[in-house]
């Protein structure tokens, strides 16, 4: 049992989520909560005898500060929408899978799988932990989809329902072919080995002819599934390469496999020997394992999100005085829609009713919320911060300003894997090997020994198969990806590691990337004021809903406020009013007046009390911890630029951070960001890495050679990218790149080692005297030593780049 010891702590932590409690007002018995949301979750669980939830892990909950309105899931009663979400129904029983980004510990697992306690209609609930999915089957008579979603939301697990998951139901499919292939290859390889062994250990070919026949037949039979099932991906990939007119690394591998097989068949049928079928099986088995290790990228993270996953499924449309939820794709121009607090507006609209305060930080990079007047336009992607809005739809979802970005050809380009450095090495390797093989063959031909000629050519190709290169590439990259992900840097695919090493220009976004999103620093410079004046200022700014006023209010931190008389607010300029016989005026220099020399323009508000200028409040962005160090280190190796959708208030700070040589642009639209990256690539021939966070960076992330998205919390949704980095780990981005470069060196080093093996093998091969015994010993030995070398080296080297080894 975990007891609540928080009463003795200086700061009480919430029993449910472990967050700090601002006060001890919200409590139940000896348990304290940070908010009413957390408390009510506890109450629900307590009532239903589900408190094991709290015993399995300490403070397992997710904080519930965000309130969710009651009719939010009304749209789930709509049959059309429901049909798109469910996987199977027969009218009585329905099955579907939810994506719950909140799943993070065994308590979650336990609670969700006991969902039937809270909703009797649920028959089974099963969690897929790595995918953060919950499979549910329920009885239609006893409960509804809406009920289940509401129950989940009440206990703190609001399912992520989005358009994207609806349009591609493939989310729930997992590819198991690789497992099958590894299993079959392992089985066949092991048994071929078993049968070949008898032959190796027999002296002077003393094996009984009948037994030999049996063994050979068995080997051939077992090698068929290896070649025609397990190894197909190498042949397919090689063929794709040839069709696209380049030789990739799989080509020499496929060639070697094919020649090994044919040569072995020839040897067996002509009674010369036993062939190399066991080596062939072994190579395929090891390579498949390598591929599997390398492809174990993280399914929990989706790298292909577009705007659809950020948008709601349905909107409340007001028609003839009735509110009905309508699927987002069916929203038409001139529909009147309703938007609640904290909801994203998915279409371009005009404000018709309500007090709009829109947070565009995600779509445009503006750090402060924008107030919008009735009749003005609100662009898709903005988030309403507080209050209910009625909006008139101007454009449908697919045609809005934001979604237009996705019509750019970059997003439709189906990228074929480009030739990478290993393909190039593989290619030259193949040429050299072919040359040696033909040379050796020619030699024996001149000597007049035809059989030896064929022997030499084929053995050279078999022995010098660049499998070792492929193995070391797969195993090293697999290990690097694993170490990266332990350090909260997740890559879409192993190819990205190689691309990382080639970067020579880095483009950064400001809001949400260099700065922390949704937090601003407020600084006050000027005369000191006493408590009564402080209260007076706080009372005044409390009247205004302007973001800067609210920042000032938070900054002053006054619990009590006084009455304000003659309050006046002039949009975009400032506020004034009388509090406790003081006339206070806060606003831009133009508005307040008075002699005050401004150092720089930007988000600055002058404070004037009774006609006297006291000082000014300055809003500045809060930079992430460690960003200064990161930029200083990146500056040395790369050229940098900054693209921001925000205004240029921060220009001085940024210039200082980035150095004089960096290009800095503000007020850039998503399209301009994309174009800028394109220009760098085409005109300056640079390999560009883009680091960004919002939807406004989506185009640039896609266009760049390596697009890295920054995510602040586990549940954050990032736009389509090549990699996702945790915000806290951004300061060590340079270490990640250096480690990737070191990884490339490891691959080349282990490859050099394998070339040594190859030379030893070739020595015998060109003489035409390589016996299957030596091949059988040499090949697995080289594979295993290469694997352990590359694995050990990459783990050891990671220490030099401050990588965490544990989870």
């Amino acid at each position: 049992m975990i007891t609540n010891k928080s009463t003795s702590d200086r700061i009480t932590s919430c029993f449910h989520c472990g967050g700090d409690c601002p006060s001890q007002n919200i409590s139940l018995g000896d348990k304290y909560f940070c908010c009413n949301g957390c408390k009510s979750v506890y109450e629900i669980l307590n009532e239903n005898d589900l408190c094991t939830y709290y015993n399995l892990n300490k403070n397992p909950g997710v904080d519930q500060k965000r309130e969710i309105r009651k009719d939010k899931f009304q749209f789930l009663d709509n049959e059309d929408i429901k049909k798109k979400l469910i996987q199977f129904t027969n009218g009585k029983q329905t099955q579907l899978t939810f994506y719950l980004p909140q799943i993070h510990c065994s308590s979650c697992l336990w609670l969700l799988e006991n969902l039937h306690v809270l909703d009797a209609g649920v028959i089974t609930a099963r969690v897929n932990f790595p995918n953060k999915e919950l499979f549910i089957s329920y009885e239609e008579e006893k409960t509804t989809l809406r009920n289940i979603v509401e129950t989940l939301t009440r206990i703190g697990y609001e399912p992520h329902l989005s358009l994207q998951e609806i349009s591609s139901k493939e989310l729930h499919k997992t590819d198991r072919t690789r497992w099958y292939k590894i299993g079959v290859a392992g089985f066949c390889f092991g048994n071929i080995m078993l049968m070949s062994f008898a032959d190796y250990l027999a002296f002077n070919n003393q094996v009984d002819l009948k037994i030999k026949l049996f063994f050979n037949a068995g080997s051939i039979l077992l090698s068929l599934p290896i070649l025609f099932y397990c190894a197909t991906e190498f042949f397919v990939s090689a063929w794709h390469g040839i069709k696209n007119k380049f030789l990739n690394i799989d080509f020499p591998v496929a060639l070697a496999l094919l020649i090994t097989f044919i040569r072995s068949l020839y040897e067996i049928f002509s009674g010369i020997g036993n062939g190399y079928l066991d080596s062939m099986g072994g190579i395929v088995f090891f390579m498949l394992i390598g591929r599997w290790l390398q492809s174990r990228t993280y399914q929990t993270l989706s790298f292909d999100r577009d705007y659809k996953s950020f948008f709601p499924i349905a909107l409340n449309v007001i028609k003839d005085g009735c509110i009905t939820p309508i699927e987002i794709s069916k929203i038409r121009q001139n529909d009147l829609i309703q938007i609640h607090s904290n909801e994203i507006i998915p279409v371009d609209t005009m404000l018709s009713k309500g007090h709009a305060k829109i947070d565009y930080s995600f779509v445009s990079g503006e750090s402060l919320a924008v107030e919008i007047k009735i009749g003005d336009m609100i662009y898709a992607g903005g988030k309403q911060l507080d209050g209910l809005l009625e909006l008139i739809v101007l454009k449908e979802v697919s045609q809005s300003y934001l979604t237009n970005l996705w019509n750019n050809p970059v997003f439709n380009k189906n990228e074929y894997r480009k030739e990478n450095v290993y393909d190039i090495i593989g290619k030259y390797f193949t040429y050299v090997v072919l040359l040696i093989g033909i040379g050796a063959g020619m030699y024996w031909k001149i000597q007049g020994q035809n059989t030896l000629m064929w022997n030499a050519i084929t053995t050279v190709l078999i022995v010098a198969c660049p499998c070792a290169l492929l193995l070391s590439q797969n195993y090293t990259n697999g290990n690097i990806i694993r170490i990266f992900s332990r350090n909260k840097f997740y890559l879409r695919s192993p190819d990205i590691i190689e691309k990382l090493t080639k970067i020579n220009h880095i483009v950064l976004d400001k809001t949400g990337t260099l700065t922390q999103s949704n937090t601003s620093n407020l600084r006050y410079a000027g005369k000191v004021f006493d408590v009564s004046l402080k209260t007076a200022i706080a009372s005044l700014v409390k009247q205004s809903s302007h973001p800067i006023s609210q920042l000032i209010f938070e900054y002053l931190n006054c619990p009590d406020v006084d009455d304000v008389v003659h309050y006046k607010e002039i949009e975009g300029l400032g506020i004034e009013g009388w509090v406790n016989e003081h006339h206070i005026k806060i606003g831009s220099i133009a508005y307040v007046g008075g002699e005050f020399v401004a150092e720089k323009s930007g988000s600055k508000s002058v404070l004037m009390i009774d006609g006297e200028v006291y000082g000014d409040f300055m809003v500045s962005n809060k930079y992430r911890f460690g960003v200064t160090k990161l930029l200083a280190s990146l500056k040395k190796k790369y050229t940098l630029s900054l693209l921001s959708g925000d205004n240029d208030a921060e220009i001085q700070n940024i210039q200082e951070l980035m150095g004089k040589d960096s290009e800095i642009y503000f007020n850039h639209s998503p399209q301009q960001k994309l174009d800028y990256i394109k220009r760098l690539q085409h005109e300056h021939n640079l390999n560009v890495m883009m680091v960004g966070d919002g939807l406004n960076d989506a185009g640039a992330l896609k266009q760049s050679d390596v697009g890295i998205a920054v995510a602040d919390t586990r549940n954050n949704f990032t736009p389509s990218s090549d990699g996702i980095i945790d915000g806290a780990k951004l300061p060590v981005l340079d270490q990640f790149i250096l480690f990737a470069i070191a990884g490339k060196k490891i691959i080349l080093l282990t490859f050099a080692v394998s070339v040594t093996y190859n030379i030893i093998g070739l020595y015998y091969a060109v003489q035409g005297t390589l016996s299957p015994v030596i091949a059988a010993i040499l090949m697995p030995c080289s594979s295993i030593s290469i694997i352990s070398l590359t694995y050990g080296l990459s783990a050891w080297v990671s220490n030099f780049y401050n990588m965490d080894q544990k989870n």
Partner: protein
Amino acid sequence: MSVIIILLIVSISIAGGFLFAFLWSVKDGQFDDDQSPAHRILFDDKKIKK
């Protein structure tokens, strides 16, 4: 010497049995989620009263 053939057939069929078991378990989805079973086994079996 022919006993070795019988032995080999026996050993291959045993191995084949394991292969079959492996393929079956993959098909059944046991390798899709390698984390939750590890937690699930630690939960008390006590059925929760409604």
